[in-house]
Symmetry: C2
Subunit: 209 residues, 2 copies
């Protein structure tokens, strides 16, 4: 098995955190060039043109971070980061998707629609130029504000995002917050529960994965 990755990208960090938390060691190849674009040989190998991607020894290519995590969770169940029983797995998936849709995507709306390096790349993986939309960056900021408050409320009731155990939902939430910080958007002062959680997760070895 081999993982193709772009170390600077915020989304694949979810997978790297997962690997550290589970103590899984798989060779990782960087596939972005100095021009902050995926290398042509990688796009030729994997026309989906996204990272991360896990290639199995039989040549099967598995893309999408959560699909890769789920596969590895089955190969090596412990420690369980995707839930311990049917109900818990559903709750972890629910919060992971909320973190992605409402946090990661919103942070992406801000970053991809403002950063100079992405001037014609408003959408990841698109094979054609996609223009930036300044209004979408503004809407992303608005959505991030809602995301911070929602997760703050959840973390007022629970130690971790999906309950009492650290899970993949914490990885996605953490990476979303890191991604927002690229656009100088910090966790608001008012979100004291989210800030408590963030300090705790920041101290884990996986935080710098």
């Amino acid at each position: 098995m081999k993982i193709y990755d772009w170390r600077l990208a915020p989304n694949p960090k979810r997978l790297r955190m997962f690997l550290v938390e589970k103590n899984i060691d798989i060779p990782i190849e960087e596939v972005a060039g100095d021009d902050l674009r995926l290398r042509p040989d990688y796009i030729a190998r994997y026309p989906q043109a996204m990272v991360p991607m896990l290639e199995l020894d039989d040549g099967t290519q598995i893309g999408e971070s959560m699909a890769i995590c789920r596969f590895l969770e089955e190969l090596q169940p412990e420690p369980r980061l995707m839930g311990v029983d049917a109900k818990d797995r559903a709750i972890v998936e629910m919060w992971e998707r909320r973190a992605f849709d409402e946090g990661m995507m919103a942070a992406g709306e801000v970053f991809r629609n403002t950063a100079d390096a992405f001037v014609d790349r408003g959408v990841p993986g698109a094979a054609v130029a996609v223009v930036q939309i300044p209004e979408l960056a503004e809407r992303g900021r608005q959505r991030l504000d809602l995301f911070f408050d929602k997760f703050d409320r959840q973390l007022a009731k629970h130690r971790y995002v999906a309950g009492d155990r650290f899970s993949i939902a914490d990885c996605t939430t953490f990476c979303s917050i890191e991604f927002a910080s690229w656009s100088d958007i910090p966790i608001p002062e008012r979100c004291t529960n989210l800030r408590r959680w963030h300090a705790e997760v920041s101290a884990r070895p996986s935080a710098t994965a």
Copy 2:
């Protein structure tokens, strides 16, 4: 158990197709009013303010269509719509996420940023007014075009979206295409494989779920 749903919404149809395919019978309550908005009593019960939501007998609320499907797949495994082994489950999840991110979300970008009824609701579930962005509707059209081509290529090689078996990835793809049709965006004539697949899935009882 009980499912809270909004029959007109495109996203929850994924779950209803899943229920028909698996022959699972769970009471469903409609929670939208004649004003095309979620009823206040539902939002009070479930501040996440999205559909569908599965409420368990112990009061646990599971949101996000795929989290609900995964829970039900564990309760009643056959017929398996989320993969039959670790690798297959990863491939189904990969294609389901692609269908959602690249099809459903793109169709939503077009619809929510053009339809009169959503003039201040550019994002589902947001507790505040979110303006429409006409440029985002245009970008959604562009992304749908890429989505159609990508899934056409996949369906040139496989009978179904995630391989040789019908899966939840087919449900999401089908609902995305239906959602795009609301904005008068059909499957392009050139996508002959996608059209072949669409005709086949349209003939299943679950297509009108």
